[in-house]
């Protein structure tokens, strides 16, 4: 049961980080002096949520994933682990780095002074959304792999 709650926390923080990145993307398109502070705080919150998702998900992966992995490998969808989990656990590092880089770009006066800096921040945020959604999709396939293992493919 604890394992389930830890996993759900990982998903929750990851989804919240992705949703907040989507809100940040929209807010940043209308960047001005009045929403600059909010944008900076939101970018820091995105980084924080993704880092928490990494730590919680990492703990679950290292401590609790073993039985699920065995079920997936023995089930109808072994590729749910062999491809999707393997790619997901390493692709997450790129998402993590982008999330850490984002506040470096949004904090400082250049963001509002230079149009190019706004485009850079939008690019990073867009990639965070894209990778966040990819993580969600891959996670769903991995969960389905467990289900296929439990049900014998029915």
């Amino acid at each position: 049961m604890l394992s389930t709650w830890i996993m759900m926390s990982h998903v929750l923080f990851g989804v919240l980080g992705t949703l907040l990145a989507a809100a940040l993307f929209t807010d940043m398109r209308n960047l001005n002096a009045s929403n600059l502070k909010r944008i900076q705080i939101m970018s820091l919150a995105v980084a924080t949520l993704i880092v928490i998702a990494y730590l919680v998900g990492g703990y679950w992966y290292v401590v609790h994933y073993g039985p699920d992995k065995a079920l997936i490998i023995a089930g109808q969808w072994p590729w749910a682990h062999e491809y999707f989990m393997e790619v997901k656990e390493h692709l997450f590092f790129i998402l993590l780095l982008l999330s850490l880089y984002l506040p470096m770009v949004t904090y400082g006066k250049r963001l509002i002074e230079r149009d190019g800096m706004k485009k850079l921040a939008l690019t990073i945020t867009g990639l965070i959304i894209l990778l966040g959604l990819t993580m969600d999709g891959f996670g769903a396939i991995i969960a389905m792999g467990v289900r296929m293992g439990l049900s014998g493919g029915k």
Partner: protein, 103 residues
């Protein structure tokens, strides 16, 4: 003509992102094809993935500060940084996706 001045830390950590995202994906290939390396990584912090994560974060910070010290931002536009960030994400992703597809 856009005047280049993206800031030393933004340029430094942008380049660091490109290098580390590719290096991280290459490390995946190395450790999957080399049991001794994977076991060494496992022995270091208890799990190869934990060591991999620590390596990625540590390298990103170290290279970020080293590249920042080179003051690349004075001559770099944000356009160049956008190219680096997109290239790092695509290359890192393609190396990973391609490797596990054909492994």
């Amino acid at each position: 003509m856009i005047k280049p001045n993206s800031g030393k830390y933004i340029a430094g950590f942008g380049l660091s992102f490109l290098v580390v995202s590719i290096a991280s994906s290459l490390l995946v290939i190395l450790k999957e094809d080399n049991a001794a390396l994977k076991n060494w990584m496992k022995g270091l912090l208890g799990h190869h993935w934990v060591t991999h994560g620590a390596f990625v974060i540590f390298l990103f910070l170290i290279l970020g500060f080293v590249f920042s010290g080179m003051r690349l931002g004075k001559n770099w536009t944000e356009q160049r940084l956008m190219t680096l960030i997109i290239a790092g994400t695509i290359l890192g992703g393609l190396i990973l996706g391609g490797f596990f597809l054909f492994e």
